[in-house]
Amino acid sequence: MELFQYPYMQRALIGALVIGLAAPALGIYLVQRRLTLIGDGIGHVALTGVGAGLLLNRSPVLVAVLVATAGAIAIELVRARGRTSGDLALALLFYGGIAGGVLLVGLSDATSANLNAYLFGSLLSTSTADLVTVGVLGAAILITMIALRPALFAISHDEEYARVSGLPVRTLNLLIAVTTAVTVTIAMRAVGVLLISALMVVPVATAQQVTRGFRSTMTAAMALGFFAAGSGVWVAANADTPPGASVVLLAIASFLVVAVAGAIWRGLRRRAVPASMTAAEPHEVVLD
Protein backbone atom coordinates (compact mmCIF):
# COMPACT_ATOMS: atom_id res chain seq x y z
CA MET A 1 0.00 0.00 0.00
CA GLU A 2 2.98 2.34 0.65
CA LEU A 3 3.42 2.72 -3.08
CA PHE A 4 0.24 4.78 -3.23
CA GLN A 5 1.84 7.45 -1.03
CA TYR A 6 3.76 8.55 -4.12
CA PRO A 7 1.89 11.25 -6.03
CA TYR A 8 2.52 9.60 -9.41
CA MET A 9 0.85 6.42 -8.16
CA GLN A 10 -2.11 8.38 -6.84
CA ARG A 11 -2.43 10.10 -10.20
CA ALA A 12 -2.27 6.78 -12.02
CA LEU A 13 -4.89 5.27 -9.72
CA ILE A 14 -7.34 8.19 -9.97
CA GLY A 15 -6.92 8.33 -13.75
CA ALA A 16 -7.57 4.59 -14.05
CA LEU A 17 -10.65 4.76 -11.80
CA VAL A 18 -12.18 7.57 -13.88
CA ILE A 19 -11.59 5.56 -17.05
CA GLY A 20 -12.90 2.40 -15.38
CA LEU A 21 -16.21 4.19 -14.75
CA ALA A 22 -16.48 6.05 -18.07
CA ALA A 23 -15.41 3.33 -20.52
CA PRO A 24 -18.27 0.86 -19.78
CA ALA A 25 -20.81 3.73 -19.61
CA LEU A 26 -20.01 4.36 -23.28
CA GLY A 27 -19.25 0.74 -24.11
CA ILE A 28 -22.77 -0.50 -23.34
CA TYR A 29 -24.10 1.47 -26.33
CA LEU A 30 -21.34 0.11 -28.56
CA VAL A 31 -22.10 -3.47 -27.48
CA GLN A 32 -25.82 -2.95 -28.08
CA ARG A 33 -25.16 -1.72 -31.63
CA ARG A 34 -22.69 -4.52 -32.36
CA LEU A 35 -19.80 -2.09 -32.68
CA THR A 36 -17.74 -3.89 -30.07
CA LEU A 37 -14.49 -3.55 -31.98
CA ILE A 38 -14.90 0.09 -32.97
CA GLY A 39 -12.88 1.28 -29.96
CA ASP A 40 -10.01 -0.84 -31.15
CA GLY A 41 -10.18 0.69 -34.62
CA ILE A 42 -10.29 4.22 -33.27
CA GLY A 43 -7.33 3.35 -31.05
CA HIS A 44 -5.35 2.52 -34.19
CA VAL A 45 -6.28 5.89 -35.66
CA ALA A 46 -5.39 7.69 -32.41
CA LEU A 47 -1.88 6.28 -32.73
CA THR A 48 -1.32 8.43 -35.81
CA GLY A 49 -2.25 11.39 -33.62
CA VAL A 50 0.29 10.33 -31.01
CA GLY A 51 2.96 10.08 -33.69
CA ALA A 52 2.06 13.48 -35.11
CA GLY A 53 2.14 15.01 -31.62
CA LEU A 54 5.56 13.54 -30.86
CA LEU A 55 6.91 14.66 -34.23
CA LEU A 56 5.54 18.20 -33.92
CA ASN A 57 6.47 18.49 -30.22
CA ARG A 58 2.86 19.10 -29.30
CA SER A 59 0.93 17.24 -26.60
CA PRO A 60 0.48 13.74 -28.06
CA VAL A 61 -2.78 13.28 -26.14
CA LEU A 62 -4.39 16.44 -27.53
CA VAL A 63 -3.29 15.75 -31.11
CA ALA A 64 -4.54 12.18 -30.68
CA VAL A 65 -7.95 13.46 -29.50
CA LEU A 66 -8.23 15.54 -32.69
CA VAL A 67 -7.06 12.81 -35.06
CA ALA A 68 -9.17 10.09 -33.37
CA THR A 69 -12.25 12.32 -33.45
CA ALA A 70 -11.78 12.94 -37.16
CA GLY A 71 -11.35 9.19 -37.68
CA ALA A 72 -14.43 8.38 -35.60
CA ILE A 73 -16.57 10.80 -37.60
CA ALA A 74 -15.28 9.27 -40.84
CA ILE A 75 -16.13 5.76 -39.56
CA GLU A 76 -19.62 6.86 -38.50
CA LEU A 77 -20.31 8.45 -41.89
CA VAL A 78 -19.24 5.24 -43.63
CA ARG A 79 -21.39 3.17 -41.25
CA ALA A 80 -24.46 5.37 -41.71
CA ARG A 81 -24.31 4.97 -45.48
CA GLY A 82 -24.52 1.23 -44.91
CA ARG A 83 -22.65 0.26 -48.04
CA THR A 84 -20.94 -3.12 -48.24
CA SER A 85 -17.68 -1.32 -48.94
CA GLY A 86 -17.90 0.08 -45.40
CA ASP A 87 -16.09 -2.98 -44.06
CA LEU A 88 -13.14 -2.38 -46.36
CA ALA A 89 -13.14 1.35 -45.70
CA LEU A 90 -12.87 0.62 -41.98
CA ALA A 91 -9.99 -1.80 -42.54
CA LEU A 92 -8.13 0.83 -44.57
CA LEU A 93 -8.65 3.41 -41.86
CA PHE A 94 -7.50 1.08 -39.08
CA TYR A 95 -4.34 -0.14 -40.75
CA GLY A 96 -3.58 3.29 -42.15
CA GLY A 97 -3.91 4.62 -38.61
CA ILE A 98 -1.49 2.21 -36.96
CA ALA A 99 1.02 2.32 -39.84
CA GLY A 100 0.90 6.11 -39.84
CA GLY A 101 1.44 6.15 -36.08
CA VAL A 102 4.44 3.83 -36.16
CA LEU A 103 5.94 5.77 -39.09
CA LEU A 104 5.52 9.18 -37.43
CA VAL A 105 6.89 7.94 -34.09
CA GLY A 106 9.86 6.52 -36.01
CA LEU A 107 10.50 9.88 -37.67
CA SER A 108 10.40 11.70 -34.33
CA ASP A 109 13.08 11.54 -31.63
CA ALA A 110 10.85 9.32 -29.46
CA THR A 111 12.11 5.90 -28.40
CA SER A 112 10.26 2.63 -28.78
CA ALA A 113 9.66 2.71 -25.02
CA ASN A 114 7.71 5.89 -25.69
CA LEU A 115 5.57 4.13 -28.28
CA ASN A 116 5.05 1.20 -25.92
CA ALA A 117 3.68 3.52 -23.24
CA TYR A 118 0.90 4.57 -25.61
CA LEU A 119 0.26 1.09 -26.96
CA PHE A 120 -0.02 -0.68 -23.62
CA GLY A 121 -0.25 2.08 -21.00
CA SER A 122 2.26 3.25 -18.44
CA LEU A 123 1.74 4.15 -14.81
CA LEU A 124 4.64 6.54 -14.63
CA SER A 125 3.58 8.74 -17.48
CA THR A 126 0.47 10.36 -15.94
CA SER A 127 1.32 14.02 -15.26
CA THR A 128 -0.91 16.35 -13.26
CA ALA A 129 -1.96 18.05 -16.50
CA ASP A 130 -2.88 14.63 -17.93
CA LEU A 131 -4.92 13.86 -14.84
CA VAL A 132 -6.86 17.11 -15.19
CA THR A 133 -7.58 16.27 -18.84
CA VAL A 134 -8.69 12.75 -17.90
CA GLY A 135 -10.84 14.04 -15.02
CA VAL A 136 -12.63 16.74 -17.03
CA LEU A 137 -13.19 14.65 -20.16
CA GLY A 138 -14.09 11.57 -18.10
CA ALA A 139 -16.72 13.51 -16.17
CA ALA A 140 -18.10 14.91 -19.44
CA ILE A 141 -18.37 11.40 -20.91
CA LEU A 142 -20.11 10.06 -17.80
CA ILE A 143 -22.62 12.92 -17.60
CA THR A 144 -23.46 12.70 -21.32
CA MET A 145 -23.85 8.93 -21.36
CA ILE A 146 -26.05 8.89 -18.25
CA ALA A 147 -28.13 12.00 -18.95
CA LEU A 148 -28.90 10.96 -22.53
CA ARG A 149 -29.50 7.31 -21.66
CA PRO A 150 -33.15 7.13 -22.83
CA ALA A 151 -32.30 8.63 -26.22
CA LEU A 152 -29.02 6.71 -26.67
CA PHE A 153 -30.77 3.50 -25.59
CA ALA A 154 -33.49 4.17 -28.18
CA ILE A 155 -31.09 4.68 -31.09
CA SER A 156 -28.93 1.72 -30.06
CA HIS A 157 -31.92 -0.54 -29.60
CA ASP A 158 -33.95 0.39 -32.69
CA GLU A 159 -32.50 3.10 -34.90
CA GLU A 160 -35.46 3.22 -37.30
CA TYR A 161 -37.94 3.66 -34.50
CA ALA A 162 -35.77 6.44 -33.07
CA ARG A 163 -35.84 8.16 -36.46
CA VAL A 164 -39.64 7.90 -36.64
CA SER A 165 -39.77 9.34 -33.09
CA GLY A 166 -38.12 12.44 -34.50
CA LEU A 167 -34.89 11.96 -32.53
CA PRO A 168 -31.77 13.63 -34.00
CA VAL A 169 -30.37 10.22 -34.91
CA ARG A 170 -27.41 11.46 -36.95
CA THR A 171 -26.33 13.90 -34.24
CA LEU A 172 -26.60 11.25 -31.53
CA ASN A 173 -24.63 8.77 -33.65
CA LEU A 174 -21.90 11.33 -34.16
CA LEU A 175 -21.96 12.05 -30.43
CA ILE A 176 -21.31 8.37 -29.69
CA ALA A 177 -18.52 8.31 -32.29
CA VAL A 178 -16.83 11.41 -30.89
CA THR A 179 -17.24 10.17 -27.30
CA THR A 180 -15.61 6.89 -28.31
CA ALA A 181 -12.64 8.80 -29.73
CA VAL A 182 -12.29 10.91 -26.59
CA THR A 183 -12.55 7.85 -24.31
CA VAL A 184 -9.92 5.98 -26.28
CA THR A 185 -7.47 8.86 -26.14
CA ILE A 186 -7.85 9.68 -22.46
CA ALA A 187 -7.46 6.01 -21.61
CA MET A 188 -4.28 5.73 -23.67
CA ARG A 189 -1.95 6.53 -20.77
CA ALA A 190 -3.55 4.13 -18.34
CA VAL A 191 -4.39 1.04 -20.39
CA GLY A 192 -2.96 1.80 -23.82
CA VAL A 193 -4.69 2.14 -27.20
CA LEU A 194 -4.54 -1.58 -27.91
CA LEU A 195 -6.38 -2.56 -24.72
CA ILE A 196 -8.83 0.27 -24.06
CA SER A 197 -11.56 -1.42 -26.08
CA ALA A 198 -11.54 -4.28 -23.58
CA LEU A 199 -12.42 -1.91 -20.76
CA MET A 200 -15.40 -0.64 -22.78
CA VAL A 201 -16.71 -4.09 -23.64
CA VAL A 202 -15.69 -6.74 -21.09
CA PRO A 203 -17.47 -5.21 -18.04
CA VAL A 204 -20.66 -4.96 -20.11
CA ALA A 205 -20.31 -8.57 -21.21
CA THR A 206 -19.84 -9.60 -17.58
CA ALA A 207 -22.76 -7.55 -16.27
CA GLN A 208 -25.30 -8.66 -18.88
CA GLN A 209 -24.97 -12.28 -17.82
CA VAL A 210 -26.79 -11.57 -14.57
CA THR A 211 -28.83 -8.39 -15.18
CA ARG A 212 -32.36 -8.08 -16.55
CA GLY A 213 -32.54 -4.49 -17.74
CA PHE A 214 -30.46 -1.92 -19.60
CA ARG A 215 -30.14 0.45 -16.69
CA SER A 216 -29.03 -2.24 -14.25
CA THR A 217 -26.54 -3.55 -16.84
CA MET A 218 -25.05 -0.09 -17.19
CA THR A 219 -24.73 0.38 -13.43
CA ALA A 220 -23.20 -3.05 -12.89
CA ALA A 221 -20.79 -2.61 -15.83
CA MET A 222 -19.58 0.71 -14.43
CA ALA A 223 -19.04 -0.86 -11.01
CA LEU A 224 -17.11 -3.74 -12.61
CA GLY A 225 -15.00 -1.36 -14.70
CA PHE A 226 -14.20 0.71 -11.62
CA PHE A 227 -13.21 -2.41 -9.71
CA ALA A 228 -11.08 -3.82 -12.54
CA ALA A 229 -9.27 -0.51 -13.06
CA GLY A 230 -8.57 0.00 -9.37
CA SER A 231 -7.40 -3.51 -8.62
CA GLY A 232 -5.48 -3.68 -11.91
CA VAL A 233 -3.42 -0.61 -11.06
CA TRP A 234 -2.84 -1.96 -7.55
CA VAL A 235 -1.58 -5.29 -8.93
CA ALA A 236 0.57 -3.48 -11.50
CA ALA A 237 2.16 -1.30 -8.83
CA ASN A 238 2.85 -4.14 -6.44
CA ALA A 239 3.82 -6.88 -8.86
CA ASP A 240 5.49 -4.51 -11.32
CA THR A 241 3.34 -5.71 -14.21
CA PRO A 242 2.15 -3.56 -17.16
CA PRO A 243 -0.98 -1.71 -15.92
CA GLY A 244 -3.11 -2.07 -19.07
CA ALA A 245 -2.60 -5.80 -19.24
CA SER A 246 -3.29 -6.20 -15.51
CA VAL A 247 -6.56 -4.23 -15.69
CA VAL A 248 -7.80 -6.13 -18.73
CA LEU A 249 -6.85 -9.56 -17.40
CA LEU A 250 -8.68 -8.80 -14.15
CA ALA A 251 -11.76 -7.72 -16.12
CA ILE A 252 -11.64 -10.94 -18.14
CA ALA A 253 -11.12 -12.97 -14.96
CA SER A 254 -14.30 -11.50 -13.46
CA PHE A 255 -16.12 -12.32 -16.69
CA LEU A 256 -15.05 -15.96 -16.38
CA VAL A 257 -15.95 -16.12 -12.68
CA VAL A 258 -19.43 -14.70 -13.34
CA ALA A 259 -19.95 -16.97 -16.37
CA VAL A 260 -19.03 -20.11 -14.43
CA ALA A 261 -20.94 -19.07 -11.30
CA GLY A 262 -23.98 -18.20 -13.42
CA ALA A 263 -23.90 -21.59 -15.16
CA ILE A 264 -23.62 -23.43 -11.84
CA TRP A 265 -26.43 -21.36 -10.29
CA ARG A 266 -28.73 -21.98 -13.25
CA GLY A 267 -27.92 -25.69 -13.07
CA LEU A 268 -28.74 -25.84 -9.36
CA ARG A 269 -31.97 -23.92 -9.83
CA ARG A 270 -33.07 -26.20 -12.62
CA ARG A 271 -32.52 -29.21 -10.36
CA ALA A 272 -34.33 -27.54 -7.43
CA VAL A 273 -37.45 -26.76 -9.48
CA PRO A 274 -39.55 -29.87 -10.18
CA ALA A 275 -40.07 -30.72 -13.82
CA SER A 276 -43.83 -30.15 -13.62
CA MET A 277 -43.25 -26.59 -12.41
CA THR A 278 -40.99 -25.67 -15.32
CA ALA A 279 -43.50 -27.10 -17.76
CA ALA A 280 -46.25 -24.94 -16.26
CA GLU A 281 -44.25 -21.75 -16.65
CA PRO A 282 -45.93 -20.08 -19.60
CA HIS A 283 -43.55 -17.25 -20.44
CA GLU A 284 -40.23 -18.91 -21.16
CA VAL A 285 -40.94 -19.41 -24.85
CA VAL A 286 -38.61 -17.54 -27.16
CA LEU A 287 -39.75 -17.45 -30.75
CA ASP A 288 -37.53 -16.32 -33.61
Binding site: I28, A147, P150, S165, G166, F214, V286, L287
Partner: protein, 253 residues
Protein backbone atom coordinates in the same frame (compact mmCIF):
# COMPACT_ATOMS: atom_id res chain seq x y z
CA UNK B 1 -65.88 15.94 -44.06
CA UNK B 2 -62.98 14.06 -42.50
CA UNK B 3 -59.53 15.56 -42.48
CA UNK B 4 -56.86 13.66 -44.37
CA UNK B 5 -54.12 12.30 -42.11
CA UNK B 6 -51.98 10.64 -44.77
CA UNK B 7 -51.97 11.64 -48.42
CA UNK B 8 -49.78 9.90 -50.98
CA UNK B 9 -49.94 11.31 -54.51
CA UNK B 10 -48.37 9.47 -57.43
CA UNK B 11 -45.68 8.09 -55.13
CA UNK B 12 -42.82 6.03 -56.59
CA UNK B 13 -40.03 4.24 -54.74
CA UNK B 14 -37.08 2.31 -56.12
CA UNK B 15 -34.16 0.47 -54.59
CA UNK B 16 -30.94 0.79 -56.60
CA UNK B 17 -32.84 1.74 -59.74
CA UNK B 18 -35.28 -1.19 -59.44
CA UNK B 19 -38.84 0.18 -59.10
CA UNK B 20 -40.77 -1.18 -56.10
CA UNK B 21 -43.74 1.19 -56.06
CA UNK B 22 -45.06 3.08 -59.06
CA UNK B 23 -47.69 5.82 -59.23
CA UNK B 24 -49.28 4.99 -55.88
CA UNK B 25 -51.98 7.32 -54.56
CA UNK B 26 -53.63 6.80 -51.19
CA UNK B 27 -55.54 8.92 -48.70
CA UNK B 28 -56.23 7.96 -45.09
CA UNK B 29 -58.60 10.22 -43.18
CA UNK B 30 -59.00 10.68 -39.43
CA UNK B 31 -60.75 7.78 -37.71
CA UNK B 32 -60.18 5.25 -40.47
CA UNK B 33 -58.59 1.85 -39.98
CA UNK B 34 -56.93 1.01 -43.26
CA UNK B 35 -55.29 -2.34 -43.96
CA UNK B 36 -52.65 -2.57 -46.68
CA UNK B 37 -52.79 -6.10 -48.05
CA UNK B 38 -50.72 -7.89 -50.63
CA UNK B 39 -48.39 -10.79 -51.30
CA UNK B 40 -44.81 -10.87 -50.04
CA UNK B 41 -42.68 -8.59 -52.16
CA UNK B 42 -45.66 -6.63 -53.48
CA UNK B 43 -44.28 -3.43 -51.98
CA UNK B 44 -46.74 -3.02 -49.12
CA UNK B 45 -44.08 -2.61 -46.43
CA UNK B 46 -42.18 -0.22 -48.69
CA UNK B 47 -45.32 1.90 -48.93
CA UNK B 48 -45.52 2.48 -45.19
CA UNK B 49 -41.76 2.91 -44.90
CA UNK B 50 -42.00 5.65 -47.51
CA UNK B 51 -44.86 7.29 -45.60
CA UNK B 52 -42.64 7.31 -42.48
CA UNK B 53 -39.72 8.79 -44.39
CA UNK B 54 -37.57 5.68 -43.87
CA UNK B 55 -37.10 5.16 -47.60
CA UNK B 56 -36.80 8.13 -49.96
CA UNK B 57 -39.55 8.87 -52.46
CA UNK B 58 -38.39 8.78 -56.07
CA UNK B 59 -41.36 10.75 -57.40
CA UNK B 60 -44.69 12.10 -56.20
CA UNK B 61 -45.48 13.56 -52.79
CA UNK B 62 -46.48 12.49 -49.29
CA UNK B 63 -48.35 14.66 -46.81
CA UNK B 64 -48.77 13.90 -43.10
CA UNK B 65 -51.27 15.94 -41.09
CA UNK B 66 -51.38 18.62 -43.80
CA UNK B 67 -47.61 18.97 -43.88
CA UNK B 68 -45.27 17.79 -46.62
CA UNK B 69 -43.26 14.85 -45.26
CA UNK B 70 -40.01 16.77 -45.64
CA UNK B 71 -41.24 19.49 -43.30
CA UNK B 72 -43.13 17.22 -40.92
CA UNK B 73 -41.76 17.49 -37.38
CA UNK B 74 -44.68 16.49 -35.13
CA UNK B 75 -43.56 12.88 -34.80
CA UNK B 76 -45.32 12.56 -31.43
CA UNK B 77 -48.58 12.34 -33.42
CA UNK B 78 -47.44 9.07 -35.01
CA UNK B 79 -46.88 5.72 -33.33
CA UNK B 80 -44.84 3.28 -35.42
CA UNK B 81 -44.84 -0.47 -34.80
CA UNK B 82 -42.12 -2.26 -36.77
CA UNK B 83 -42.39 -5.88 -37.85
CA UNK B 84 -40.17 -7.16 -35.08
CA UNK B 85 -37.84 -6.14 -32.33
CA UNK B 86 -34.25 -6.03 -33.56
CA UNK B 87 -31.97 -8.49 -31.81
CA UNK B 88 -29.33 -5.86 -31.15
CA UNK B 89 -26.09 -6.72 -29.42
CA UNK B 90 -27.70 -8.71 -26.63
CA UNK B 91 -27.64 -6.13 -23.85
CA UNK B 92 -30.77 -6.95 -21.82
CA UNK B 93 -33.63 -4.46 -21.67
CA UNK B 94 -36.83 -4.76 -19.65
CA UNK B 95 -40.27 -4.54 -21.24
CA UNK B 96 -40.77 -1.27 -19.42
CA UNK B 97 -37.51 0.22 -20.73
CA UNK B 98 -38.50 -0.58 -24.32
CA UNK B 99 -42.01 0.81 -23.87
CA UNK B 100 -40.59 3.96 -22.23
CA UNK B 101 -38.73 4.73 -25.49
CA UNK B 102 -42.15 5.56 -26.90
CA UNK B 103 -42.24 8.69 -24.74
CA UNK B 104 -39.18 10.27 -26.34
CA UNK B 105 -41.05 11.77 -29.29
CA UNK B 106 -43.24 13.67 -26.86
CA UNK B 107 -40.65 14.48 -24.20
CA UNK B 108 -37.54 15.23 -26.25
CA UNK B 109 -34.11 13.86 -25.49
CA UNK B 110 -32.93 16.26 -22.79
CA UNK B 111 -35.82 16.21 -20.32
CA UNK B 112 -35.72 13.35 -17.78
CA UNK B 113 -38.87 11.21 -17.53
CA UNK B 114 -41.57 12.55 -15.22
CA UNK B 115 -44.85 11.44 -13.68
CA UNK B 116 -46.80 11.88 -16.94
CA UNK B 117 -44.33 9.55 -18.68
CA UNK B 118 -44.74 6.88 -15.99
CA UNK B 119 -48.54 7.07 -16.18
CA UNK B 120 -48.52 6.78 -19.98
CA UNK B 121 -46.13 3.80 -19.91
CA UNK B 122 -48.29 2.06 -17.29
CA UNK B 123 -51.43 2.68 -19.34
CA UNK B 124 -49.79 1.33 -22.51
CA UNK B 125 -48.53 -1.80 -20.74
CA UNK B 126 -52.00 -2.32 -19.37
CA UNK B 127 -53.66 -1.83 -22.77
CA UNK B 128 -51.70 -4.74 -24.29
CA UNK B 129 -51.95 -6.93 -21.18
CA UNK B 130 -48.26 -6.90 -20.27
CA UNK B 131 -48.41 -4.96 -16.99
CA UNK B 132 -47.25 -8.05 -15.06
CA UNK B 133 -44.21 -8.52 -17.31
CA UNK B 134 -42.92 -4.93 -17.06
CA UNK B 135 -39.66 -5.82 -15.30
CA UNK B 136 -38.88 -8.94 -17.34
CA UNK B 137 -36.22 -8.84 -20.07
CA UNK B 138 -37.91 -8.61 -23.48
CA UNK B 139 -35.76 -11.48 -24.74
CA UNK B 140 -37.63 -13.89 -22.42
CA UNK B 141 -41.03 -13.03 -23.97
CA UNK B 142 -42.72 -15.01 -26.73
CA UNK B 143 -42.85 -13.56 -30.24
CA UNK B 144 -46.41 -12.39 -29.69
CA UNK B 145 -45.57 -10.75 -26.39
CA UNK B 146 -42.60 -8.99 -27.99
CA UNK B 147 -44.94 -7.71 -30.67
CA UNK B 148 -47.31 -6.44 -27.95
CA UNK B 149 -44.34 -4.71 -26.32
CA UNK B 150 -43.74 -2.81 -29.56
CA UNK B 151 -47.41 -1.85 -29.76
CA UNK B 152 -47.28 -0.63 -26.16
CA UNK B 153 -44.18 1.42 -27.06
CA UNK B 154 -46.15 3.13 -29.83
CA UNK B 155 -49.23 3.63 -27.61
CA UNK B 156 -47.10 5.12 -24.81
CA UNK B 157 -46.44 8.16 -27.00
CA UNK B 158 -50.22 8.79 -27.12
CA UNK B 159 -50.26 9.13 -30.91
CA UNK B 160 -53.19 10.09 -33.14
CA UNK B 161 -52.06 7.79 -35.93
CA UNK B 162 -50.75 4.25 -35.57
CA UNK B 163 -48.71 2.77 -38.40
CA UNK B 164 -48.09 -0.97 -38.03
CA UNK B 165 -45.97 -3.27 -40.18
CA UNK B 166 -47.38 -6.83 -40.10
CA UNK B 167 -48.38 -6.66 -36.42
CA UNK B 168 -49.86 -10.14 -36.39
CA UNK B 169 -47.31 -12.08 -38.45
CA UNK B 170 -46.31 -15.23 -36.54
CA UNK B 171 -48.15 -14.12 -33.43
CA UNK B 172 -50.04 -16.57 -31.16
CA UNK B 173 -53.82 -16.41 -30.92
CA UNK B 174 -53.88 -14.90 -27.41
CA UNK B 175 -51.60 -12.07 -28.51
CA UNK B 176 -53.67 -11.49 -31.66
CA UNK B 177 -56.80 -11.12 -29.51
CA UNK B 178 -55.01 -8.79 -27.07
CA UNK B 179 -53.78 -6.76 -30.01
CA UNK B 180 -57.22 -6.54 -31.64
CA UNK B 181 -58.64 -5.34 -28.30
CA UNK B 182 -55.94 -2.66 -27.93
CA UNK B 183 -56.59 -1.51 -31.50
CA UNK B 184 -60.37 -1.32 -30.91
CA UNK B 185 -59.81 0.87 -27.84
CA UNK B 186 -57.43 3.08 -29.78
CA UNK B 187 -59.94 3.56 -32.60
CA UNK B 188 -62.84 4.10 -30.19
CA UNK B 189 -60.85 6.98 -28.72
CA UNK B 190 -60.63 8.59 -32.15
CA UNK B 191 -57.32 7.18 -33.39
CA UNK B 192 -56.44 6.51 -37.02
CA UNK B 193 -54.69 3.30 -38.09
CA UNK B 194 -52.72 2.22 -41.14
CA UNK B 195 -51.49 -1.34 -40.96
CA UNK B 196 -49.79 -3.77 -43.27
CA UNK B 197 -50.99 -7.32 -43.01
CA UNK B 198 -50.68 -10.62 -44.75
CA UNK B 199 -53.88 -11.95 -43.27
CA UNK B 200 -56.28 -10.13 -40.99
CA UNK B 201 -57.54 -12.84 -38.60
CA UNK B 202 -59.23 -11.35 -35.52
CA UNK B 203 -58.46 -7.83 -36.81
CA UNK B 204 -60.99 -8.14 -39.62
CA UNK B 205 -63.97 -6.56 -37.80
CA UNK B 206 -61.87 -3.53 -36.84
CA UNK B 207 -60.76 -2.70 -40.40
CA UNK B 208 -62.80 -0.03 -42.20
CA UNK B 209 -61.06 -0.17 -45.56
CA UNK B 210 -58.55 -2.31 -47.39
CA UNK B 211 -55.93 -1.34 -49.93
CA UNK B 212 -54.36 -4.12 -51.95
CA UNK B 213 -50.87 -3.64 -53.35
CA UNK B 214 -49.99 -5.79 -56.33
CA UNK B 215 -46.72 -5.55 -58.29
CA UNK B 216 -45.90 -2.10 -57.01
CA UNK B 217 -49.29 -0.52 -57.62
CA UNK B 218 -52.63 -0.31 -55.82
CA UNK B 219 -55.11 -2.68 -57.43
CA UNK B 220 -57.95 -2.42 -54.92
CA UNK B 221 -59.14 0.34 -52.59
CA UNK B 222 -62.40 -0.40 -50.83
CA UNK B 223 -64.07 -2.94 -48.55
CA UNK B 224 -62.04 -5.76 -47.07
CA UNK B 225 -61.78 -8.47 -49.74
CA UNK B 226 -63.08 -11.96 -49.06
CA UNK B 227 -60.50 -14.03 -47.22
CA UNK B 228 -61.44 -17.01 -49.39
CA UNK B 229 -59.84 -15.32 -52.39
CA UNK B 230 -56.67 -14.84 -50.34
CA UNK B 231 -56.14 -11.55 -52.17
CA UNK B 232 -58.60 -9.28 -53.93
CA UNK B 233 -59.32 -9.65 -57.59
CA UNK B 234 -57.04 -7.26 -59.47
CA UNK B 235 -59.93 -5.84 -61.53
CA UNK B 236 -61.97 -4.94 -58.46
CA UNK B 237 -61.96 -1.13 -58.43
CA UNK B 238 -64.74 -0.21 -56.03
CA UNK B 239 -64.01 2.88 -53.96
CA UNK B 240 -65.51 2.73 -50.51
CA UNK B 241 -66.91 5.85 -48.82
CA UNK B 242 -64.58 7.07 -46.11
CA UNK B 243 -64.72 5.89 -42.54
CA UNK B 244 -66.56 7.39 -39.56
CA UNK B 245 -66.41 11.12 -39.03
CA UNK B 246 -64.76 10.97 -35.64
CA UNK B 247 -62.39 13.74 -34.71
CA UNK B 248 -58.96 12.58 -33.57
CA UNK B 249 -59.27 13.96 -30.08
CA UNK B 250 -58.68 11.87 -27.02
CA UNK B 251 -55.18 10.71 -27.87
CA UNK B 252 -54.00 14.19 -28.74
CA UNK B 253 -53.13 16.70 -26.10
Amino acid sequence: MSTPVITVEHGAVGYDGRPVLQDVSLTVTAGEVVAVLGANGSGKSTLIRAILGLVPLGAGSITLFDRPLRQFRQWQRIGYVPQRLGAGGGVPATVREVVASGRLARRGILRPPGAADRVAVDAALHAVGLADRATDPVSTLSGGQQQRTLIARALAGQPELLILDEPTAGVDAASQEAFAGALRDFVADGGTVLLVAHELGPLRPVISRAVVVHQGGICHDGPVPDPAGHHAEPDHDHVHPHGPDEPAGLWSN
